[in-house]
Symmetry: C2
């Protein structure tokens, strides 16, 4: 097992009817910047519950944070927040709203005019942030229980992650009933996003981190177990609660303890999203199987373990099991209606040249073996076609 | 799934050679009360590493915190700490040292002369505490990553738990190499203690908390997997690291999320320890199988799940599986050399009358169904004989 640090001070308030607890979690004299996305919270009743719980507090609203939140959009929230002298950011939505709000909270007190530095340099330049609270409405990214944010810059077609010790939410309220109004595409994306987060931490080198492996397998098995009921659209509380908690646990740092992460699927997926507009989950569902095929020999041990302990494949050599694990994972993605090829999005061999060029330009090298540079990305993307 | 809150701000520093990080984790001008147990840290090299890492800081030592730490002993540390005006408590040892130190840290600034109130009233009266740091040397109780402390009062033969929001360690350093000097009895007790902690949270009502169930089963399976190597005494790093992390995860609040705990085994075990001096793990290894037999009908679902997912028992009715789960658990305890009957400690039917009398006197009612009062305790203890 590798040495590790684990620290996660996010206060989780989980369950039905918990949104009202905002009143106890935010100071009575706070001036709140309330952030949200496309406005679905106004039709599904969440907005009303949040405003009710905020009681007499001063509230400034900023809606319209888009999927893959951009510095262009969130920069406007920063201006608003500064002008109105808010001292608390309350994010109501899914991972994009939360990520955008982490950026906003760090940017409001940021001294430098170039806000992209926050994303590029992260904890190196972030010296403070406004406190953030979260009301989660979409289980997927795990942003509600970590200090990570992924931001985009539309002007340069970039998508990058930053993290800082000031970016943990003070609290996150997870009411599974808020997910009842999600559509099939959102549910599918959430399931795949959570699943791939665990893959990035599990299907790497074998660090003999036995408990973390079992915990990761627990998340995999649970997602696979609940996926049919989730995708049926049934308002089954325990299923939705389990889904929400799986997505949170998938990226709250626990399964990463003592292991070496891969994250090349995310690194390549981010560029696909930036160039072609694929949803995050769509991009990683395409890239993951290809990365696994490309890295099959170094990932054989863990993929064979995945085959045995999650997909129940007990026969065959380790290599055969590893190959079967990839196949079963792809089948699982298909079972929730998630495509796994670039051709499903009409992206061609010609299109991917600009992705490869981006990797050549940045010189970024990814993967647990630090061997996925531009050349490897080219080979991986060809598998994705 | 039940509604729940989860909050755990303990900073975990895990791995070999990490004790030196104390220097970065405690303020340079802190005056430290260094607490420890019987002095084994002076022979196994841990003390030297701790003192080295504390560099020029002022240090006041208090050794001799006993297993099942008493208010009598720890009260002396409170006097010392007040006299010396310490402002940090550094606990170096296992669960007893940490529990005692949580009490000491809360008691030093406590205004009331009656320190037992801290234990009796917990968060109702604890309004502050000195910051606590931990160097863990014995995987067992999980106290390094929670806000719980179990204290004893020798004068009245009482043993009770308290918790408070001020009792989370600021940091806990977990260096698995510190466990190399543990003897077989300590290793056995640690394995059983961690195992039973998970039992108390898992083998209760079925709350459809699927991920938490898988996480609990992951801890069970991992403990069962590593137990033979642990008990062999081999200095196998990954095994000891896994053992340490299992014990921490067994009681850091995660497996309790969304479920209803039992804790009657602990409640009865504490009284056995107070009256007869059984080690904590010894007491709960005796009580657990008896509680499960007594509550078999209400625990059938979860015990059958334990049988299937941990012990690999796929045949038979739910009732048969539940019975087999108890049998296998007892076998596991025996496999690490842990007795499971009161007669193994020469405790007789006559002796247990005072335990029953204690429950009659306090009126305490335990268990997830709130049905284990004095009468049930009597029946359970008879099964333990």
């Amino acid at each position: 097992m590798e040495n590790f640090n684990y620290y996660n001070p996010v206060k989780i308030v989980f369950g039905k009817g918990t949104i009202g607890q905002i009143d106890k979690l935010i100071e009575p004299d706070a001036k709140v910047l309330l952030t949200y996305g496309g406005g679905s919270i106004k039709t599904n009743g969440v907005y009303k519950q949040v405003i009710g719980a905020l009681k007499g507090r001063k509230v400034v609203e900023f809606g319209g944070i888009e999927p893959n939140p951009s510095i262009e959009t969130c920069g406007k929230a920063v201006e608003l927040g500064r002008r109105e002298k808010v001292n608390f950011v309350l994010a109501v939505g899914g991972g994009s709203v939360i990520d955008g709000s982490k950026f906003i909270a760090a940017a409001i007190p940021f001294k430098n005019k170039n806000l992209w530095q926050i994303i590029e340099k992260g904890s190196g330049v972030i010296k403070s942030a406004l406190p953030i609270g979260v009301v989660l409405t979409l289980p997927a990214t795990g942003s509600e229980m970590n200090n990570i944010s992924v931001m985009s810059r539309n002007a340069t077609l970039e998508k990058k992650a930053f993290r800082s010790e000031y970016s943990y939410p003070k609290f996150s309220i997870l009411d599974p009933e808020t997910t009842y109004s999600l559509d099939r595409r959102q549910l599918r994306n959430g399931l795949v996003d959570a699943f791939v987060h665990v893959c990035e931490q599990y299907a790497t080198k074998n660090s003999n981190a036995h408990l973390q492996d079992r915990h990761a397998e627990g998340i995999f098995k649970t997602l696979v177990q609940i996926a049919p009921v989730v995708m049926s659209g049934k308002k089954d509380y325990d299923t939705r609660a389990t889904f929400m908690w799986c997505a949170t646990q998938a990226l709250n740092g626990l399964t990463a303890c003592g292991t070496i992460g891969d994250w090349s699927t995310h690194g390549i997926g981010h560029v696909l999203t930036a160039f072609f507009g694929l949803a995050h989950a769509e991009s990683i569902a395409v890239v993951l199987p290809a990365v696994w095929k490309y890295e099959l020999s170094s990932k054989t041990n863990k993929l064979a373990m995945l085959a045995e302990n999650v997909w129940g494949i007990k026969k065959g050599s380790k290599k055969q099991k590893a190959a079967a694990a990839i196949e079963q994972t792809v089948k699982f993605f298909h079972s929730v209606g998630m495509p796994t090829k670039l051709s499903n999005y009409d992206i061609t061999k010609k299109d991917i040249t600009k992705v490869i060029a981006r990797f050549k330009q940045t010189g970024l090298v990814l993967g647990e073996n630090h061997d996925i540079g531009a050349k490897a990305v080219e080979k991986i993307l060809k598998i994705c076609l």
